[in-house]
């Protein structure tokens, strides 16, 4: 049977730089601060932060290849993951703890978020918005789990097990009693969406969101 549905219809064009959130995150970090990047990949964000913001940066990364790349770049990165390793860091160890595009892959996002705010005075969390219109379209109209350029793996192979919308995330922030210092949504072109736009608008047109949280 030739299913008419195809992935191409569900594919959404992502921003030219797939990790456009790095730019936004870098702009949110105060120069000279102590930063932990959880799920730091090949260390690109840490490098941006070190050169542009002169931070004292550390990282945690799950993949051996990623850790090796980081180590070769001179970054201090340990092999580990958010669920298991954050608990071992002391309180207030960092000015910022960054979790970029990772929270949806953690086993226990709530505990991870609480740990972020325990070991960092601020947490910067970016995540793909599952409320984006293209995802709603894919699921609602085509009846298929979305495969986009940002979320390029099928449901059976994706490490992303805890998707949320911007609204969902805001709900979790309230539940753990944290404070949203700033929040930004990025549209499909990677542009920051207007601050005055209503939440519902962000939740529909924001492809990614970046939150800065602190303890209330």
């Amino acid at each position: 049977m030739d299913a008419p549905l195809a992935t191409s219809e569900a594919v959404v064009t992502a921003a030219p730089a797939s990790r456009i959130d790095f730019e936004v995150i870098a702009s949110l970090v105060r120069p000279g601060s102590r930063v932990l990047d959880v799920g730091c990949g090949d260390g690109s964000l840490l490098q941006i932060l070190q050169t542009r913001r002169q931070v004292d940066g550390r990282g945690i990364e799950l993949s051996q290849a990623g850790v090796n790349e980081c180590v070769a770049k001179g970054l201090s990165v340990i092999q580990g993951d958010a669920d298991r390793d954050l608990v071992h860091y002391p309180d207030d160890a960092f000015d910022y703890v960054i979790l970029s595009q990772t929270i949806q892959a953690t086993r226990n996002p709530k505990l991870v978020l609480q740990d972020l705010l325990r070991i960092g005075r601020r947490a910067i969390v970016s995540f793909p918005n599952f409320g984006h219109w293209s995802i709603r379209l894919s699921l609602g109209l085509y009846g298929r789990m979305p495969v986009t350029r940002n979320l390029s793996q099928s449901w059976y192979e994706t490490p992303n097990i805890h998707f949320c919308t911007i609204r969902d995330f805001d709900g979790l922030v309230k539940e753990i009693g944290a404070k949203v210092e700033t929040a930004t949504a990025l549209d499909a072109t990677g542009q920051q969406m207007g601050m005055r736009m209503p939440w519902a608008f962000w939740n529909l047109f924001g492809e990614q969101a970046v939150f800065v949280l602190s303890r209330s």
Binding site: R58, Q64, V71, A72, K73, V77, I78, Q79, D85, A93
Partner: protein, 394 residues
């Protein structure tokens, strides 16, 4: 006497000569420079046999101290005078290799208590004119490192660019960072831990009991009495060797394959390849290693417990450290499992130290640190290169 037996005897004689009068460089420390020991006594005079590779730069800033493991020695990247084989880490140390002797000045010494030229139980006790045997005080990893620091002083080096070691060498590496934090720019502890576990002490005790149960051990006075407890030492080595491998690797290499036969022998010869392999490991080991030294080395590892030295808080051992660390573990190492390295990483994180950590996927067990593993070599090369940039080494 068979040719094989003659060869073994010759090797044992060479080993004995190397223990007393090593063929390479030796640093002598006279009565004015005693080695203060954790046992509360002093060792004096004493000597350290060592090798160096590469050239010390004008700033004296490119020295790397390589610490050897339990049965290793200072012939790390050059031919071993006893076995005639390449140095035990020749694959990683040399021109253009991860520990690049075109850039770095590499020092490796035989540990105190060893049997390849540094003062140990086979050395002559000046008080009696006889080999120390068990009269040598029990030594610790900290004692070994204290002696190494005296050698580094003697070589006119203030701060080491890096200290690197696997297993017992990794213990020394950690101890360096704890005892002399200001003298260690970078530390690379590999396949190690901050303490010896109960299971590891247990295996060592089996080995020691095997040595001491050999009637030729003669309460440690075998050199004087002209005997050699090679049967006991071989058993100790066989038991220990199993812990350096992994079940998966043994199965892959040997399986249940038979040795030089088609059917089971219904006897107690080495029917299986694994038995033959272990017997060979035991036999070749006793030709090159001193039995008493084996007791002292294993004891030193058993006593190692950095947290214990700091009221049970490992993080306190690394307080205010400025050393940059890179720890490496191997996924199939059950002697020093990844969790042991992770515990050190967590302590270093708690101390806000600069620390990297990578677990290498391999089925080759603890001994993987002696083997060519591309990811492992990549991590070492990358870490050292970036640290060298930070240190201003060209």
């Amino acid at each position: 006497m068979t040719i094989k037996a003659a060869g073994q005897l010759r090797k044992a004689e060479t080993a004995r000569n190397e223990a007393v009068e090593p063929s390479g460089p030796v640093a002598h420390f006279g009565p004015d420079e005693p080695l203060r020991l954790d046992a509360g006594r002093e060792l004096s005079p004493f000597q350290i046999a060592y090798n160096t590779y590469g050239t010390l730069n004008a700033d004296r800033s490119n020295a790397i101290y390589v610490c050897h493991a339990l049965t290793g020695d200072h012939h790390v990247a050059s031919t071993n005078p006893v076995t005639g084989r390449d140095g035990w880490w020749s694959s990683i140390i040399g021109p253009g290799k991860p520990i690049d002797t075109d850039r770095y000045f590499v020092i490796c010494s035989n540990v105190i208590g060893g049997c390849m030229g540094s003062t140990g139980p086979a050395s002559i006790d000046p008080a009696t004119g006889e080999p120390y045997g068990l009269d040598l005080p029990v030594l610790t990893i900290r004692d070994m490192v204290r002696a190494q620091a005296m050698l580094v002083d003697r070589l006119g080096i203030d701060t080491l660019f890096a200290v690197i070691g696997g297993s017992m060498g990794g213990m020394q590496c950690l101890q360096w960072a704890v005892s002399y934090p200001e003298r260690v720019f970078a530390a690379l502890p590999i396949a190690t831990g901050a303490r010896h576990s109960s299971q590891n002490i247990a295996f060592h005790e089996v080995g020691r009991q095997a040595v001491m149960a050999d009637p030729d051990w003669r309460a440690g006075r075998y050199i004087l009495e002209g005997t050699r407890p090679h049967k006991g030492l071989a058993v100790a080595r066989m038991a220990a060797h199993i812990t350096y491998l992994s079940e998966a690797a043994l199965q892959r290499k040997f399986g249940r394959n038979l040795q030089d036969r088609e059917v089971l022998g219904f006897g107690f010869d080495a029917d299986f390849q694994i038995e033959s392999y272990l017997r060979h490991q035991g036999m070749t080991f006793v030709d090159r290693f001193d039995a008493n030294s084996y007791l002292y080395m294993t004891r030193a590892m058993d006593y190692f417990d950095i947290a214990g030295d700091f009221g049970g808080r490992l993080g306190d051992a690394f307080k205010n450290t400025r050393t940059r660390f890179c720890l490496v573990s191997f996924s199939s190492d059950w002697l020093f499992p990844t969790e042991e390295s992770r515990a050190v990483v967590h302590a270093l994180n708690a101390a806000a130290a600069s620390v990297s950590f990578v677990e290498i996927e391999t089925d080759r067990g603890h001994d993987a640190f002696l083997l060519e593993e591309p990811e492992f070599f990549g991590a070492i090369r990358g870490f050292l290169s970036s640290a060298a940039r930070a240190r201003g080494i060209g």
